[in-house]
């Protein structure tokens, strides 16, 4: 084992375990007041008028008229307003804030605000969006983006085909369910606005404030506070409460706390995109898969947000781990009057792998071949090209990963035994996760920088990446101290502050260790050369690796800088009386390169698996007329500790050539492959096909009663 992989005590451990960590809602600076968001109660309407009661002294209304520059939350497209002005597009859309010293008075004011709406026919799901006509939500079209790409000679292969196997799969919403709701504290000293809060991406908030306030960056400061989980839900979303709280602090000249209630948070923060995915495989006379036609549809909700990027990852992942030479892949992110869909651990990957892996199972069933053998035949290898024709430069060890997971789980004998044992099943999945930003995004959009500062024997790390429970405050210290060859006690690292941390990019996309960790390693290597100097600092810039290429117009080239790989097996038994799925065990093998800290890695694996299990089974989240039906933890069912099955995980050794000490990204991949492995297991157990997730006991009853 590599020395760096040995676990050490986490640096955020003491504070969090002893309850000493000060989270945003715990922090009450002198003179602080509260703000609450007044939101749309209808899914689509024109606002005819807003009546506001007369306000007591020290109470404020903050709305679009308080915006000095632009009423826009910049994400990819500039379509989402900070506050609604003339129209609302989803239930929960912010219209204004009420701020003041007493919460009870704020509630009284909120109750007296009256909005007169003229409703417009809402567009409530993908199917309605596909067939809708004007007025459209986004520009003059029913979708935010539509993409297509080709590989090989699709048309000719289709003509050659002797057999077509086609499927349609549906996946639902998922809520991130972080322990700490969205929380922001804004302070304004007459010159500088300072945002402290629960977040993944401090610079996203900096950029939003620049646009909305029209201020110079020097007057904007964003600081991460200890954060109670994020899972993508604090990627783009905190820009909204961040900007809201800032406007309230500037107007009131008082520190403003904006903390969401759980129900409010579930109703109006971003969710995982629901999807419909159709896959057609074309087979020749030898039953070889020669081409695939894949169509992905996502429900993006009311504003574009990150839907374009999520859709890209879905369509780049949906061909799976398989080398099928001829592809036609297209995807559409539709605009609907639902809550905005956004980032969530896996970022389009879980939908894609659910669909392609279930489709592979179906093909194996139709061809009456072993599902593992079928997969192996098409596994991509070093030197092959990806679905977007980027060359895989590094060794790919899918065969080894699959061997390991099969052996560990005793898959083969169980699979054949369960053919005759009722209500028992076992299923597998093979998957990858592209690490880092899509395409050349790291070089062209993010341009990450890191900074290391030496003062005598001490070294401090300055990066914008956040500690969201995944261990950044520990792993980055390990990387720097190992590269410098100094004891870790001499390396310091705090929660990021945009004032002294350069923009090393967002804490997303399984990129922090791979990209930022590598920059820190390089930076430390430079520092080591000048170690005899007493005090100095180095800023390291990212350079796009010369062996990679990407064309963002045609989607040709290396869709991601690096990939992590994995395989899962899930064994289930269905309760004959209640149709509940009892998960007997989950086996998981990954190639994530060199683990930077084995315990942290294990934590990520087990946490991701449990979140994947919830996605596949209990986490039902549906909209009814644009409103989410499960908006509390009583009705939105995440697994409890008692629901966690035995998990057996293992890593294979295959160091990355790109990441620090051979490490790759890990944060997301454990979630990605659970749903298809579980669904295949349920399929075997009940002898019926599963084409939608989550799979509930109610669904299983329907299937077995048919």
């Amino acid at each position: 084992m590599n020395k760096i992989s040995e676990s050490i005590k986490r640096y955020d451990f003491e504070d969090k375990i002893h309850g000493k960590a000060v989270y945003t809602p715990d922090y009450h600076p002198e003179g602080m007041i509260y703000a609450k968001t007044f939101r749309s109660k209808v899914s689509r309407a024109k606002i005819l008028s807003i009546q506001i009661p007369s306000l007591p002294a020290d109470y404020f209304i903050v709305d679009h008229r308080d915006i000095p520059a632009k009423n826009v939350i910049p994400v990819v497209f500039d379509d989402q307003p900070v506050f609604a002005v003339n129209e609302v597009n989803y239930i929960g859309e912010p219209i204004l804030l009420v701020a003041g010293p007493e919460k009870s008075v704020i509630l009284e004011i909120m109750n007296k605000i009256n909005v007169e709406y003229q409703t417009i026919q809402p567009i409530l799901n993908i199917e309605e969006a596909e067939s809708c006509s004007a007025p459209f939500i986004f520009k003059e079209q029913p979708h935010f983006v539509h993409y297509e790409y080709h590989k090989g000679n699709f048309e000719d292969s289709v003509k050659r085909a002797k057999r077509v196997i086609s499927d349609e799969f549906k996946t639902g919403y998922q809520e991130q369910a972080y322990l700490e709701t969205q929380s922001i504290l804004a302070t304004y000293d007459g010159d500088t606005i300072c945002i402290q809060g629960s977040m993944q991406c401090p610079y996203y908030i900096v950029e939003s404030l620049e646009v909305v306030l029209g201020w110079d960056r020097s007057r904007i400061r964003v600081i991460q506070m200890p954060t109670g989980g994020a899972f993508g839900g604090k990627e783009d979303f905190p820009s909204i409460p961040g900007v809201h709280a800032a406007l309230a602090a500037i107007k009131s000249k008082r520190p403003v706390q904006l903390v969401y209630e759980r129900q409010e948070d579930i109703q109006c923060s971003t969710k995982r995109h629901p999807s419909i995915i159709q896959i057609k495989s074309f087979l020749d006379e030898n039953e070889e898969i020669i081409a695939r036609d894949i169509e992905v549809k996502l429900d993006g909700g009311a504003y574009a947000g990150l839907s374009s990027v999520v859709l890209q990852r879905t369509i780049f992942s949906v061909a799976g781990c398989y080398n099928v030479e001829n592809l036609f892949v297209r995807g559409t992110a539709y605009a609907t009057n639902n809550v905005v869909s956004g980032a969530f651990r896996g970022f389009g990957g879980p939908q894609a792998f659910y669909a392609i892996e279930m489709h592979m199972e179906n093909i194996a069933m139709q061809l009456r071949t072993d599902p593992i053998q079928l997969r192996r035949k098409y596994f991509v290898k070093q030197g092959d090209t990806s679905s977007t024709q980027g060359k895989f430069h590094d060794p790919i060890v899918l065969d080894l990963i699959t061997d390991e997971v099969i052996t560990l789980s005793d898959f083969k004998s169980k699979r054949s035994r369960f053919e005759s044992e009722k209500l028992k099943g076992i299923g597998c999945s093979v998957f990858f996760h592209g690490c880092g930003f899509t395409g050349a995004g790291e070089a062209e959009l993010i341009k990450p920088k890191v900074r290391l500062k030496k003062l005598k024997s001490e070294v401090e790390i300055f990066i914008s990446n956040t500690e969201i429970g995944q261990g950044v405050l520990t792993t980055m210290r390990k990387i720097v101290s190992s590269a410098l060859g100094i004891p870790i006690e001499h390396v310091h690292h705090n929660y990021p502050n945009s004032h002294d941390c350069p923009d090393s990019g967002p804490t997303v996309a399984s990129r922090t260790v791979l990209i930022v960790g590598r920059l820190l390693q390089d930076c430390a290597t430079e520092m080591k050369k000048r170690w005899n100097e007493e005090s100095f600092e180095i800023i390291q810039n990212y350079a796009y690796p010369s062996h990679l290429s990407w064309d963002n117009q045609t989607f040709k080239g290396n869709a991601y800088p690096d990939y992590s790989w994995g395989a899962n097996v899930v064994e289930v038994e269905i309760n004959a009386d209640t149709y509940e799925v009892d998960v007997k065990g989950i086996w998981a093998v990954y190639d994530i390169g060199t683990p930077i800290d084995e315990k942290i890695v294990k934590g990520q694996i087990e946490g991701g698996i449990v979140q994947g299990l919830g996605y596949a089974t209990s986490e039902v989240l549906e909209t009814k007329n644009g409103k989410l039906s499960q908006d509390t933890f009583t009705t939105y069912i995440i697994p409890s500790s008692l629901d966690i099955p035995p998990i057996f995980s293992k890593l294979v050794e295959n160091p990355s050539t790109m990441g620090p000490f051979g490490a790759r990204g890990l944060g997301e991949i454990p979630l990605v492959g659970i749903a298809p492995a579980l669904a295949s297991a349920v399929q075997q157990a009940i002898g019926k096909r599963i084409t939608k997730i989550p799979i509930t006991p109610e669904d299983i009853l329907k299937e077995v009663q048919l």
Binding site: L107, Y579, T635, Q705
Partner: protein, 280 residues
């Protein structure tokens, strides 16, 4: 305003002279009347705290009855070694450790949710409650006390002081809760059943079904049909028995589950108890 009486008699006096809401463990009312965190719960009335009352915090066990005081927590009940383990089964699965530390039978009963997890057992065991006021006490059978979803025959000046469970041994007890997950879950369906079988003959049987109607369902006519039968004959009666239950089970569709699922699963669980458990 809120009241924290020093004794039951003081509590009853407050209850008589004020329109108050009784607050025992608070694990139902704190959720029901929750408000923006950091502001007080929006209780509809003044609050009478009784959870601290020592005189209601004991469990008495004799050969005939188990008497549970109103402020006894689930945790205290579970720790009591005199209680038969079969009666602990539903309680062990309520909420989570934290909820079992504060939640009470009396709160569960007075909340009168059709999904209340102590209720199936209390119905099956023919439990009674004692309610008291300044003028005296009433002893009421559980199925008469609960009158509908969220409603009981408790009067405005009364407090539920004790729950009495007959202390009887059964040859068979059965409990299954179908929750949305394994902890902190509201029941989608639950069945608590007991039976006495003497030399293959059923001498007593009670089956209570939760979450499948406005209140817990017990079918005395079905039970009467089974009593006296030989266990080997039950399988041949099962179709007609299940039809009787099917007629009386009237669940609803909600965010947790469906009508169809609840009925089917309730019948499956009853069948499992009658055929598999009793047959053994």
């Amino acid at each position: 305003m809120s009241f924290r009486p020093a004794s039951l008699s003081e509590a009853l006096l407050i209850r008589k002279t004020n329109d108050v809401m009784v607050y025992c463990g608070g694990s139902d009312v704190m959720i029901k009347y929750r408000s923006w965190s950091g502001t007080p719960a929006q209780f509809p009335k003044d609050v009478l705290y009784i959870g601290h009352l020592k005189e209601l915090k004991s469990i008495d066990v004799n050969d005939f009855e188990i008497t549970i005081g109103a402020t006894v927590s689930y945790a205290q009940f579970l720790q009591d070694e005199r209680i038969p383990i079969e009666y602990k089964k539903p309680v062990e699965q309520i909420g989570s450790v934290a909820i079992r530390n504060i939640g009470t039978f009396s709160g569960n009963i007075c909340n009168a949710s059709p999904a209340g997890d102590t209720l199936t057992m209390l119905y099956a065991l023919n439990a009674k409650v004692i309610v008291a006021s300044t003028v005296g006490k009433r002893e009421i059978a559980i199925e008469n006390f609960i009158t509908g979803p969220g409603s009981t025959c408790l009067k405005n000046d009364e407090i539920l002081t004790h729950i009495i469970i007959p202390n009887q041994k059964f040859s068979h007890t059965y409990y299954y809760k179908v929750g949305t997950r394994k902890a902190n879950a509201i029941s989608k369906v639950s069945v608590f059943a007991v039976a006495d079988v003497v030399e293959h003959r059923v001498t007593d049987i009670r089956i209570a079904v939760g979450s499948c109607g406005p209140t817990v369902i017990r079918l005395k006519e079905a039970e009467a049909k089974i009593i006296g039968s030989n266990t080997s004959n039950i399988e041949s009666m099962i179709y007609s028995l299940l039809t009787m239950y099917d007629d009386k089970i009237v669940p609803i569709d909600d965010v947790r589950s469906t009508k169809v699922y609840r009925s089917k699963v309730a019948l499956n669980l009853i069948e499992t108890f009658l055929v598999k458990e009793l047959g053994q």
